[in-house]
Symmetry: C2
Subunit: 215 residues, 2 copies
Amino acid sequence: MGEVHSKTPGQVDARTRLLAAALKVIRERGYGATSVDALCAEAGVTKGAFFHHFKSKEMLGVAAAQHWSDTTSELFATAPYHNERDPLTRVLAYIDFRTELLDGPLAEITCLVGTMVQESYQSSEAIRKACDASISAHAATLEDDIAAAAKQYGTANCIDARSLALHTQAVLQGAFILAKAKGDASIARESTAHLKRYFQMLFTGDAQQREPNGG
Amino acid sequence: MGEVHSKTPGQVDARTRLLAAALKVIRERGYGATSVDALCAEAGVTKGAFFHHFKSKEMLGVAAAQHWSDTTSELFATAPYHNERDPLTRVLAYIDFRTELLDGPLAEITCLVGTMVQESYQSSEAIRKACDASISAHAATLEDDIAAAAKQYGTANCIDARSLALHTQAVLQGAFILAKAKGDASIARESTAHLKRYFQMLFTGDAQQREPNGG
DNA sequence: TGACACATACCAACTGGTCGGTATGATTCA
DNA sequence: TGAATCATACCGACCAGTTGGTATGTGTCA
């Protein structure tokens, strides 16, 4: 995958442009409704370039999921919530961070792999696995903080960190669907508020620590 | 939408068969990857019949969402959880019911409108609205029980019943996506367990009322 | 007779994918 | 040094099959 050729500065190669186009167009239209031609048009490259870099549309889907995983993991790795010293505060700050990310056009705040796996889970095992890897890897980055918080608050014996980390992702994925259905992301923010309250009650037993939902 | 014509007993008309085919095929492949031909083949009718009953594929999508809304609302209206006399118990029994429904092939346990809106929220306002109507109507059936429980447990002032009902649907929709990604519904059951615990803590403040998650 | 419920045949546009070709830079070796 | 060779990146015409959709015909029944 290394850059073999030196590129003119400011110029990105066709593969990178196609991947960026895939992230944009698939999030807007879904994988099935995205044609190879549409991807090429968005990327400003020809069909020849497409099939030079990807042996099929399916393999583009797999590469897009991996690219998504790469870019999002960098986004989260450098996010400020990691600076919190208390593990529970860190997890709650993560939820706040996700809530902040819920601002902007729907296609730009929703999850590529969640969208893709919904359509492809039966038709393409390769895409399904790539999407699962992306979701699971991200959930895994939460697991340690959750486990540490459980230990610190003495609830380690009744909390499965992995299950809770994946539940967090489920809430977010579901929030995206509700937002799409309503054509408005505000409902998603209500769901993350519920999720945050769940964490607060689960660890501290305090239901009224923050303002109630709605607002 | 009423049956205008009397049919030979045991015979269902092309429209009904196409709707049933839509529910099956779209849940397996997604809306975009479902062709009119595939729908006709599954229903055992011709293309002429398809376009006699639906003016376009998009209108079939709308009708499918409405049909889904009709059949699911009947399923839930006659479900046994309504027999519980305590409103909170009723809500918890609803979650248990949803958990029981998580048994079987993935395509048969997931939500048609959740799948469809994911792909169509930008390309078809008509489908988006039909899917929103289905989800919102179902959530509304939960709202009264949640409000009654909040009143009874003295937490009415900090619980928005509508928000909580929609959050319930978000958790379920997200659970479906995780299940599809992992190719296994067991992760979805873990999410409904978390949701149930959230309700228990929210209303009774008791986090350890039932066994912890995992299993 | 005529309205309805389909069937058959068909169409233009588009689908994913192939193919022969070219431009360019790296490598080899006389 | 420089000609020959090779690999990569990309182009764009082309293909067979499929797409959503239409036009027209036929059988049935009130």
